[in-house]
């Protein structure tokens, strides 16, 4: 069964991901990279605050991990509709309402740290729905690695690729 998803556009292809891991590990025994789609609730925040050096307006993107509810600010991104097999998708656990509260807290926390001030920020939060990030699982029978398709960041996995 397949389903269309809004996937964050990335530049790291399966070949790039495999090459990246192979170059680091100096190993030819890698399995082909497998895609996996990870869900986030996306929000766009328009923030305004008056500071000593003038009115600060900031546009922020916020992604709330739909599996465990953790929020983070994000670079601007574009999405593309892509069809993915159900077996390649993670199923979201966090509701849009819960994600909204997390996004507000995340944006507020970020602004306080970035502007180094204690203030009630005027935050207009717009929900943009569920977006998906494509990761590549690359590895061998010994180990496997998760590669982020948007920036090539890597993280080892417990599960073996084989």
């Amino acid at each position: 069964m397949t389903e269309p998803l809004y996937v964050i556009e990335g530049t790291v292809t399966a070949e790039c991901a495999s090459r990246q891991v192979r170059d680091l590990c100096d190993s030819d025994a890698l399995q082909p990279a497998q895609p996996i789609y990870y869900p986030y609730h996306a929000f766009r925040a328009a923030c305004t605050v008056a500071t000593l050096i003038g009115r600060q307006e900031r546009q922020l993107h916020c992604l709330v991990d739909a599996m465990n509810g953790q929020g983070a600010t994000a670079e601007p991104f574009t999405t593309r509709l892509r069809v993915a097999a159900a077996s390649e998708q993670m199923q979201p656990d966090i509701s849009p309402t819960a994600a909204h509260a997390v996004a507000r807290r995340t944006v507020s926390h970020h602004l306080g740290k970035a502007l180094r001030m204690i203030a009630a920020f005027d935050i207009k939060l717009e929900a943009e729905g569920l977006v998906w990030k494509q990761f590549w699982v690359v590895g061998s029978t010994q180990y496997s690695v998760l590669v982020d398709s948007t920036n090539g960041a890597m993280h080892p996995l417990r599960s073996k690729a084989g």
Binding site: S87, A114, R116, I118, Y143, R158
Partner: protein
């Protein structure tokens, strides 16, 4: 101070503002906090120098110089601990702490403690203690800022103190401090060059280090020993250990330092940043102590030994350089005060008010609580600093001893010891804080020859181990926490190059995908 000093002081702030606006306009400013999907990374050298610049407090510019002036080369014990402190912290709790805090979804260091040791009491005790002691630390910055401003501008201390407190409050309430990596980087370079310049000028004035040491020996030969003036600390290894520990492992108890570990980017970047920070420390950290020692000869009979560095700079440096260096030092002190107040306000509103008093609190209510607390700290700080200002050295040593003793075992065991449980953590925090506090308050260091930091850390560690083991059956560590710890500790057959290149920010996604893949295979 001459008008040239004031002109260059102002010039410094103009340049810093210019760099800040330039960085913000080209979108490179923001901060060191990671953005998801980001290509917006700050390199290891900028990361290191930024962290060093923002962590250099009034202690380095007043306390360290004052100690060197009063005790001679004994002061170098403190410098020795401080030089390697950053790397030690990074090695002991850095990577795992980053991973664990993210997997547990903790935004603040106090929240992290409660998630690792699930109990409201942990958060309550840790929150109150931290707010109390950070208040003390802010007091040290206010005194340093006031004294520095009085000397630089020539206005009376009470007014200078009020201006310093006012500037910090305005920054904290209204923003405007351009806390971008490039301005902090610039500030750290000016500080390093400036402090080295003061050292070189001092040595040049005295005919070199050998000649200076000969002259100090003529004044009081005990100042050349590592046992302090009149050999007051001779053979007191318990006190020496405390001096070494306070800025090496003591930092691990500081919530704002631990928060940095939580925001750390890739381990590889952090590792390189650690190397740069150590190199910076090697040059910078001993310098203020040394200037204090040399000031014994340059400015004998100084009324306030804690002003040694400012006074020596004013006497020996060209006016333009004095202006630039003092501006950088003042900016660093103000920046540290601002950061500490923000941290204190955040802990009071989120970790105490929202968590225990009003869980449905709106953002506006939380801001009100934060601002009220910051205002109270500032007013109390101003009054204390005005009526009977304690030494910056004394305040920082007191606050660091109690915080380090209370939290060091709790943070270290949180990442390294699976058996560390909630009763153990609570006992450790209470015993450590109480022992260090009483040791300081009752002045037991003199009679026992043991520093408060040493007795505090040893007793809190013993409490953590003993209580955790004794209560293991009645209060076991929850299975989900053990699972997260195993995940964070896992290395397995992963090639080391891959581990070094792994991105800690992906920890929670990796954990969720791991679980999903395992279920599918089962």
């Amino acid at each position: 101070m001459s008008s040239t000093v004031i002109v260059f002081l102002l010039l410094y702030y103009v340049v810093v503002l210019g760099i800040g606006y330039w960085a913000m306009r080209r979108g490179a400013g923001e901060d060191l906090e990671g953005f998801l999907l980001g290509g917006r990374k700050v390199g290891p050298m900028a990361t290191a120098l930024t962290l060093q610049s923002t962590s250099m407090s009034g202690y380095m510019f007043l306390g360290a110089g004052g100690l060197g002036y009063l005790q001679g080369y004994w002061a170098m014990w403190f410098a020795a601990g401080d030089i390697g402190g950053g790397v030690l912290n990074l090695s002991i709790i850095g990577r795992r702490m980053r991973k664990l805090s993210q997997m547990m979804g903790a935004l603040t260091s106090i929240e992290y403690l409660e998630k690792r040791y699930p109990s409201a009491a942990v958060r309550l005790f840790a929150g109150i203690l931290t707010v109390f002691l950070l208040g003390f630390y802010v007091l040290a910055q206010l005194i340093a800022g006031g004294k520095g401003m009085a000397l630089v501008t020539g206005i009376p201390y009470p007014l200078a103190l009020a201006i310093a407190v006012g500037i910090v409050l305005v920054y904290t309430f209204m923003g405007g401090y351009l806390a971008v990596a490039y301005t902090d980087f610039f500030q750290s370079i000016i500080m390093l060059v400036g402090v080295m310049w003061i050292v070189i000028a001092s040595l040049s004035e005295l005919g070199g280090l050998t000649a200076a040491n000969d002259a100090i020996a003529a004044v009081d030969p005990t100042l050349l020993s590592v046992w302090g003036r009149d050999l007051g600390f001779q053979g007191q290894w318990g006190v020496v250990a405390g001096a070494l520990l306070i800025f090496s492992i003591g930092y691990m108890g500081w919530p704002h330092v631990v928060t940095r570990h939580m925001a750390m980017s890739q381990p590889a970047t952090a590792r390189k940043a650690g190397v740069y920070a150590t190199v910076w420390n090697l040059f910078f950290v001993p310098a203020p102590y040394l200037v204090g020692i040399l000031a014994i000869l340059i400015l004998p009979g100084l009324e306030d030994p804690e002003m040694a560095i400012f006074e020596v700079a004013g006497l020996l440096l060209p006016a333009a350089v004095t202006g630039l260096v003092m501006a950088a030092i003042m900016a660093a002190i103000m920046s540290t005060a601002d950061s500490l107040l923000l941290q204190t306000g955040s802990i009071a509103s989120r970790d105490l008010y929202e968590r225990f008093i009003n869980p449905q609190a709106s953002e506006k209510q939380m801001v009100l609580v934060s601002r009220a607390l910051v205002l109270v700290i500032a007013v109390i700080g101003y009054l204390v600093a005005l009526i009977e200002p304690p030494s910056v050295f004394g305040i920082v040593i007191f606050a660091t001893s109690v915080l380090g003793s209370a939290f060091l075992p709790a943070y270290v065991c949180a990442v390294w010891w699976r058996k560390a449980n909630t009763p153990g953590a609570l006992a450790s925090m209470i015993v450590g804080a109480s022992v260090a506090f009483l040791w300081e308050y009752l002045g037991l260091a003199a009679s026992t020859q043991l520093a408060p930091m040493l007795t505090g850390v040893v007793s809190s560690t013993v409490a953590m181990i003993a209580v955790s083991l004794l209560t293991a059956k009645i209060a076991p560590v929850p299975a989900d926490i053990l699972q997260i710890m195993d995940e964070a500790a896992r290395v397995g057959p992963i090639p080391p190059q891959l581990l070094a290149a792994s991105d800690g920010a992906m920890g929670s996604e990796a954990a969720a995908i791991d679980i999903a893949l395992s279920k599918r295979r089962d």
